[in-house]
Structures are given as C-alpha cells and as structure tokens.
C-alpha cells in the first residue's frame, strides 16, 4: 500500500476567484453554491444552496461564477511550489493534489518534516497566505480525509494506522450517495463497520461499486490487484507548428488528442484514470503534469483537463510560464481501468433507452440550431395553448430510464398545476390542432349578422354559418356555447375575456371558436 500525501487547499474556488476571503464570498456553479468563504459559511451559506437562499442568509454576499480554468490556472502556482519538494505530483482536482510520500519523506527526515517543507514552500509563493493542509496516510482516500482534520498533528496518520484512522469515520465520506444511503439504512454507519464485513458478501450484495467501497474502507488500495497495465504505445502526441503561445490554439489540438486517446483506450476496453499532460516548448523545455480521477475520464473530461493545464502553464505567473511557444503536446495514459461503458447488442439491436436518443437529438440540435428540437411538457391552465409547453431539448435531461422524471425544469415531480382543477378549461377530448396564432373567422346568424355575446354571456342569436379567413360561409350543424372565460382581471396586461363555442360544420369538422373584443377566432380544430 503506497503511502501518500495529499495537499488540500480548502475553498479553492473562492481562493482562485481572487476576492478577499475575509469577506463573505460564494462561488456558484449551475445556479448552486459550490464553495463559500469562512465568513459566508458562518452566516449560514452552505453548498448546494441556490443563489437566492444564499443571499437571504447573507445579504452582502459576493457571488462569483465558477470557472474551472481559473481554478486550475491559480493552482498551478501551488503545484510549482510543491514541486520543489517532490517532482511527481498528481492533481485530483484544482485545490487537491497528491504525491507518493516515500522519497520526499526520507529526504526531509520524516513525514512531519516533509509536511512542514511543503507548507513553507506554498507559503513562500502565495501572496495572501493560501491555507494549505497536508495529510499523509496509506492511500489517496485516507490521506484526503486526513488532510481535512482540524488538528495539524492528526493529519499525519502513522504507518499501519490507516484502518484504525478510517474506522470511526461515517460512510458518507465515500461520496457514493446511492450506496451510502443503502448502507446507512442497513445500520452500517461507519467505515469500520463496512470494513468488518466479509469482502465477498459486500461484492455479492453491491457489486463492483461495493467492492471498491469496501477496499477504501479497509484502507486498501482502491485499485483491484489485477488492474491491467497500459500498453506503452498508447501515448498520443502531436507537433504544433508553428509553436503556439495562446491557450485556445493548443487546447484545440488537445481536444483532438483527447478524442483519439479515448478512442484508442476504449477499443481495448480501457478508460483512463490517471493522465499525464506533457508539453514541450520550442526552447526545449518540458512541462509535465499528472491528473488523476477517481472514476474513468471520458473524452470531454480529458479535453477539459488538458485545457486547464495549458491555461495554468501559459497564463500563469511570469516565473512559471515557459519561455517559448508549445511545439509538442503529448497525452500519456498512466493508469487505466476496465471501461464500464455501454456495449451495444451483437446484432445492432437498438437501445430504446434515452442515452442514444439524447445523443442523437443533441447532434441534431447542434445542426439545426437552438429551438428547432423541443420536447413537450404538460402544464396547468385554461387556455389550450398554455397547457402544453415546448421546452428546448438542451434545457432538459434526457437520461437513461426515460425523461419523465427529471424533465421538469423546476425540479423533480410533475410540473405545477397539471392536477389542479382549472374550472373553465375546455374539457377532453382535446383538439389535435391548436393554432399557435389563432385564425380569423366570422360566425353569422340567420339574418347574416355576426353573432355577439353581451356582458352577461348571452348570445345575440344562434349561429348559422361559419366563414374562416374570408372563405365562403359553411353551414353550422351543431354548436354549443357560449362558454365565457374571464381570466386575470387583476392584471391589465394579461387580462383576457373570451366567449368560446364548439361548432361542427356541415363538412363534419369540429372547431373551437372564440369571440374576443368583437372578433371571432378559430382557436383549434378537432381533426
């Protein structure tokens, strides 16, 4: 079991935002708080809150949008400092990195001395005192937890004491919400209790995910012992000519490299879990950084990490920036695991699941442009047009297992008001054609006069014939109405008064008509 040291900078997105951490700051990603400064947390701002909730807790909160590239760029300075202590640093995410302890620990004379050295190196580069916590234990998982300890001496877990260190911690540290939920309901609330179970039983009940969790809880290397070595020829590399100094140009190349790396690995049934990004400059400098991921990196995740890393190198401080443009970019998959991607049927049988459809629709949406691909959503309402809303497909999650649940934008559960009674709505059966823009019409009585409806909802006469958009009048054989509706009378701009009729003409078509401000409209056709 490899002894590992983790350096953790708390609230890294806040630090990277460059705003004074003594002020209440929150960083938002996808509309929710993902990090907050200490004063903000003291006011009750917590991760996962919406912007409004956070601002309600703390009115003078400074809100910043997340920017992973900015986080990675700023973290590069910290990494450069750690590199003065040890050369092989793996980035887990911006704000969290790990390295193997054995070498640097011996050199500095023990884990404690090495931790001090790392702390001093980071303090030397940071302007406003970056809070960096160094944790050492057996394995990345335990070391990450150790780094989160309040007491700095407790952050050093002695050799062999890792299982004892992990045992009292709650299972929620496993970051697998579904698994944790089940475990807690089974009464397995600490990692120690999980580790005490027989590994075979855990695999039998929870499968590979359970095996992984069990290994972590036992303080073992999360990688199963039979992890396959990567064939050496899988590195992907490309020359950049002329050498590029701008991130966007290199990142563009990086995207293509990421795709080809992922393709090569997946054709061997592998997915990358640790990736080294290597850049060479025209002056012969060689920059190298490792990114590690708990799961498997997909093509987009690889491309992101490459881009962040390039940002870190090319937009960093003058001291760490390379002297020339980047002339060669290489991606080296250092660790891989079996890809658990989806395998299609041998006979090309199609999955009816949403994945394939979602991919296909995303492609189509990209070619046809925004708003060309929409999905319907039922809403409550009186007006036929307001009862089905078309939502652009990019705004909804069409996942596996159908879109039904996650589809509503407001959150889980059906959209508002569908089940509410809505008195005055047109009863079922509903028309199959509902005009987006109602069509002008004329409903005429026996005397050839337009039918009118007075303020009390009394019609002037029975309708005899209908003329749609100035066409020849056709005889009305059956009708019902008027059904008045007086909506939103409290709001002058949204107010609507209508008298609606259902009418069947002699050609057999049934229509829904409405009289509004003296004008007849065809709202819908029952076809």
């Amino acid at each position: 079991m490899a002894r590992t040291t983790v350096v953790w900078c708390p609230d890294w997105p806040v630090v990277a935002s460059g705003i004074d951490r003594r002020r209440p700051v929150a960083v938002l990603g996808s509309g929710r708080v993902i990090a907050a400064s200490v004063p903000a947390r003291a006011e009750g701002v917590a991760r996962g809150q919406r912007r409004r909730e956070a601002q309600a807790c703390c009115p003078d909160l400074v809100v910043v949008d997340e920017d992973p590239a900015r986080d990675a760029r700023c973290f590069e300075a910290v990494l450069a400092a750690i590199e003065t202590v040890t050369p092989l640093v793996e980035i887990l995410r911006p704000g969290l990195c790990a390295f193997a302890t054995r070498g640097p620990s011996r050199y500095h004379g023990g884990d404690a001395a090495m931790a001090d050295a790392v702390g001093e190196a980071i303090a030397a580069v940071s302007v406003d005192g970056i809070d960096a916590r160094v944790g050492t234990a057996d394995g990345v998982f335990a070391a990450t937890l150790a780094a989160r300890r309040r007491d700095s001496t407790a952050r050093l877990v002695p050799v062999g004491a890792t299982p004892a260190f992990l045992a009292p911690l709650p299972v929620s540290t496993l970051a697998e919400p579904d698994l944790v939920d089940v475990l807690e309901r089974l009464g397995i609330v600490t990692l120690g209790r999980l580790a005490a179970l027989d590994a075979v039983d855990v695999v039998g009940r929870f499968g590979p995910l359970g095996a992984h969790a069990h290994r972590l809880a036992s303080g073992l290397d999360p990688r199963p012992p039979d992890a396959r070595p990567i064939p050496p020829d899988l590195d992907v590399s490309t020359e950049i000519d002329p050498p590029a100094e701008r991130t966007d140009r290199v990142a563009f190349v990086g995207k293509a490299l990421a795709d080809s790396l992922h393709d090569q690995l997946s054709s061997r049934g592998l997915a990358c879990s640790t990736l080294a990004v290597v850049a060479e400059t025209e002056h012969g400098e060689r920059l190298e950084r490792r990114w590690r991921h708990e799961g498997a990196l997909g093509p987009a995740a690889i491309a992101d990490r490459v881009r962040w890393q390039l940002e870190g190198w090319l937009s960093g401080s003058a001291a760490s920036r390379p002297t020339g443009g980047i002339s060669r970019l290489t991606l080296v998959p250092e660790e891989a695991r079996a890809a658990s991607g989806r395998q299609l049927d041998l006979w090309g049988g199609r999955a009816t699941g949403g994945d394939r459809v979602a991919r296909s629709l995303a492609r189509l949406q990209a070619t046809l442009g925004s708003g060309a691909v929409t999905v319907p959503e039922l809403r409550g309402g009186r007006d036929l047009r307001s009862r089905v809303v078309l939502v652009p497909v990019e705004a909804v999650e069409l996942g596996e297992g159908g879109a039904g649940e996650g589809r509503s934008l407001e959150g889980p559960g059906p959209a508002m008001g569908v089940a509410a009674p809505w008195p005055g709505r047109i009863p079922a059966p509903s028309p199959a054609t509902v005009f987006a823009a109602p069509v002008r019409a004329e409903l005429i009585d026996d005397q050839g006069q337009p039918v009118t409806v007075d303020g009390r909802g009394e019609p002037s006469a029975a309708p005899r014939s209908l003329s749609v958009e100035g066409a020849a009048a056709i005889e009305v054989t059956a009708w019902a109405g008027p059904w008045p509706v007086d909506e939103r009378w409290w709001d002058p701009s949204a107010r609507r008064r209508q008298a609606r009729y259902q009418a069947i003409t002699v050609d057999g078509l049934a229509r829904l008509l409405a009289l509004e401000s003296g004008q007849w409209w065809v709202l819908a056709v029952y076809d």
Binding site: W347, R350, T352, R356, V357, R359, S360, L361, R363, L364, T367, L368, G369, G371, A372, V373, T374, V375, P376, E377, L378, L384, R387, V388, L390, V393, G402, A403, G404, R407, P427, A428, P429, S430, P431, A432, T433, V434, F435, A436, A462, A478, W479, A480, Q502, I504, D507, G508, L509, A510, A524, Y526, D527
Partner: protein, 234 residues
Amino acid sequence: MTSTPAAVPDASTGRDALALLGDRIRPVTLAGERSLPVLEPLRSVLPDGGLGRGTVVTVDGPLARSLTFALVAEASGQGSWVALVGFESIGLLAAAELGVALDRVVLVDPPPGTVVSTLAALADAIDLLVVGPVRIRPSDARRLGARIREREAVLIPTGTWWPEPADVVLSATGTWVGLGEGHGRLRARKVRVEATGRRRAARPRSVDLWLPGIDGEITLADEAQVRSLAERAG
C-alpha cells in the same frame, strides 16, 4: 459382456438433436416480422397487427392527426420514441389523452431544405417518425425509404404528400357525438379507418372505432351502441 449400444446414436435421437440445434441457431425474430405494437382496436387493419419496422405508413383523411396519435400511442407507452417533424400548431394535449407518452415525444422543426437529412438523422435513434406536410422529391423519398428500412424505423407521413407508394395507407373519417344545437359538448367520435397498401396490406380493410369514446378510451364501435348514444345525445 457386450458393449452398450448407447454409444451409437440411433436415427431418431440424431434428428431430435438436429431439430434442437436448428431451434437454437435460428434468429428469434426475422427482421421483417418485427413490428411495433399498436392499440388493440387498430390491429385488425394493419398487416401483422402492428407497425412493421422499416415500413412507410401514410395517414390521411380529415382526422389524420388523431389517427396518427392513436397509431403511435401503444408503442410510445412501451418505450419507443416518437419524433413529430414539421408540424405546426399541433395539439399535444390530444396526443396525451389518446395515450401517447409525452415523455417519449420530441418535436423537430427543420428549416426548409433540411427535412430529408433531419429525418435520416432521426432514423438512427428514434423508432417512429411522424412527418407533417412537407415537400420532398421522389428521389429523396426513395432514399429516405431505404434508410428507414435499414434503420428499422417506421415513417408515418400524414397527408397525401408522400410521393412513393406506401406500404400501408390509412385514412380516417368520422362524426362527433354529444354536440347538439346550442347544447352539449363534443363527447365521443366515431371514426372509420380504412386501410389499403401494397403486398400483404393490399387487401382493403376497414374498422369502426371510438376515437375517443365517451370514457376517453379508444375502442371498437358497434352499431347498436352508436345508435343509442346518438339518441341520448339528441
């Protein structure tokens, strides 16, 4: 001591073994037999009682839209996706009432000139392609038909614009029940569905349906029931 005769297989067990092997290696369903399910009352008008994968089924007549919804309802309920392409002003509430699972429906509004490529792209992932009135060239239609066959989707053009002979041609006409002269409301609709087509669907067939019935369900209509309802509605 004699050797046991079991070592030499006799002719009958050999045949059994062959038959068993034949069963095992035969594809479970042939591609042409695979079809998407439809509601029970519509089965009698469709060859094989369903929407054959890889076929083109046109729907026209004054009630084409409602019949189309009824046609795709069962398959969408069982997880097939439905793309509605090139429809304006479509009343999806009616679709939901006729049993279409709206969480399996996507609407696509392709700009002019991209209809064929859009449909070809959709055929990759979506089972039921319902297409509103669009204009395409016969050569494009043939290519699209081939694509549909290859991807085993079902193309449902509504209206009479499909320039090629379709595998099944459905049309729907109907009368409403429940609306009087100044009273009542639209309650139920009796619809006559007529089907022709080519090959196995060439024999004309028809069925009378409640689309929808007074309880909102789609059922077969029988004459006595129609008369009594008509009398009750006045």
